[in-house]
Structure formats: structure tokens, C-alpha cells
């Protein structure tokens, strides 16, 4: 299995990834009984044009099998610290979860370093705990995230 990595632009990425999104959403999206996946293609496109999004893809025999998308920005609280990367989403097709995720994140970090990014931030779902994976890669567990759907209460 020859695995290759590349950075894609949003339009290229979306053409292929839209077939993976339903799998991704079904496995990982929260509040699936409240709202459906509805990618804001134009806003992603705009962010890509502004250079504040990084799309790293993994392919086997030219087939998209995984990706990490990250937003690159200077933190409002730490303006002088440098650019930080916040993963927006990451996914590997289940049938390729034999080390592809590891290689993908190692590649992601190398490319972020090359871009001068000083800090990486990510998260994982409670139901799909990746704490040990990230800690083994040298990441520090710093936060827990909470969500509450209040849409039904809005007026």
C-alpha cells in the first residue's frame, strides 16, 4: 500500500471528499437528530483564498483515504506568539485504519513546522477517544469540550 500525501485546495478536495463526508458525519457528528450536515462550500472557498485553511490529504493509488483540515490563525490572546493551527476535522476511511492516521498526523506536524506554525490544537469525540494516540505523539491533553443544543428553546 503506497500512501501519498499532498496539500489540496478546497475545490479539489471537495470534489473527492464529498463522497467521504457522509461516512465521516455518520461516525462522528454530534446532535445528528437535531440537524444535518450542510457544508458551507463558499465559506471554505473564501477561507482557502485567504490562506487561512490547510488541507492535507492522504491517498492510496490516487484514492482519497484520509484528511486533516486545519485553520491557521494568530490567537487573539497571544498575538506575538505566532500562527497556531486548529484542526477543523480529520478522518481516515475505516478500511485504511492500519497506521494511516499516525502517518497522516506525523506528516501534518511536519508540514505545519515547515510553515512556521508554533502550536497545534485538536480534539476528539468522547465516544472515539484518541487521547492516548495524541499523547503518544507528544501532544498535551489540555481541554475538555462541552456542547448543549438549545435550538429548540430559541424564539
Amino acid at each position: 500500500m503506497k500512501l501519498t500525501f499532498q496539500n489540496d485546495n478546497w475545490a479539489e478536495f471537495y470534489r473527492e471528499a464529498k463522497d467521504l463526508f457522509p461516512l465521516h458525519w455518520k461516525e462522528l457528528a454530534i446532535f445528528q437528530d437535531k440537524y444535518e450536515a450542510d457544508i458551507d462550500y463558499q465559506r471554505y472557498l473564501k477561507m482557502d483564498e485567504l490562506g487561512i485553511i490547510d488541507i492535507l490529504t492522504a491517498r492510496v493509488a490516487q484514492r482519497l483515504v484520509g484528511y486533516v483540515i486545519a485553520f491557521l490563525q494568530v490567537h487573539l490572546h497571544y498575538k506575538s506568539a505566532g500562527t497556531m493551527a486548529y484542526t477543523d476535522m480529520y478522518f481516515v476511511l475505516p478500511e485504511y485504519r492500519k497506521g494511516v492516521g499516525l502517518r497522516l498526523f506525523v506528516e501534518f506536524e511536519k508540514r505545519m513546522r515547515a510553515k512556521g506554525v508554533v502550536q497545534l490544537m485538536t480534539s476528539c469525540k468522547v465516544e472515539h477517544d484518541r487521547t492516548e494516540f495524541f499523547e503518544q505523539l507528544g501532544w498535551t491533553h489540555t481541554d475538555n469540550t462541552f456542547a448543549k443544543y438549545i435550538g429548540a428553546l430559541c424564539r
Partner: protein
């Protein structure tokens, strides 16, 4: 007698993968071992190979080369 790097490697891979040492081949890829990412990370930790060197490791032979290189170094 001190365990040789090769034997240490085979034992570690066998324990991680559940594949008998006799059935391991140098040209077997990491994927063929059936390990997920966390398993691979554990294996690298046991072998004391930094995780970020995974991009230069495709097969058991590559793992052995890393161990040999470290021993020479």
C-alpha cells in the same frame, strides 16, 4: 546472553501483532501486521524509535535498519 536487536525486534512485533515470530518476514509491511495507529505507536515506543520517523518506515526491514543505525550511532 543479551538479546540481539533482531530478536528484540521480532519479539516486539510478534507481541504487538499476534503473529508468530517464525511467520514474520523482513519484507512485511506495517500494514500487513494488521496494527492500527496506536498499536504502531506502542511498538515504536517499545523499540525506542521516535514516532515522527514513521514516514521512513514501511517494512520490518526498515524497523531493523533503524535499530541497527541507532546501535551504530
Amino acid at each position: 546472553m543479551e538479546t540481539s536487536p533482531s530478536q528484540h525486534l521480532l519479539t516486539a512485533i510478534s507481541e504487538a501483532s499476534g503473529i508468530a515470530e517464525d511467520d514474520l518476514r523482513a519484507d512485511m509491511t506495517i500494514e500487513e501486521l494488521g496494527l492500527d495507529s496506536l498499536d504502531v505507536l506502542h511498538l515504536l515506543a517499545v523499540l525506542r524509535i521516535p514516532a515522527d520517523e514513521i514516514d521512513s518506515i514501511g517494512t520490518i526491514a526498515d524497523l531493523e535498519a533503524h535499530l541497527s543505525k541507532r546501535q551504530l550511532g
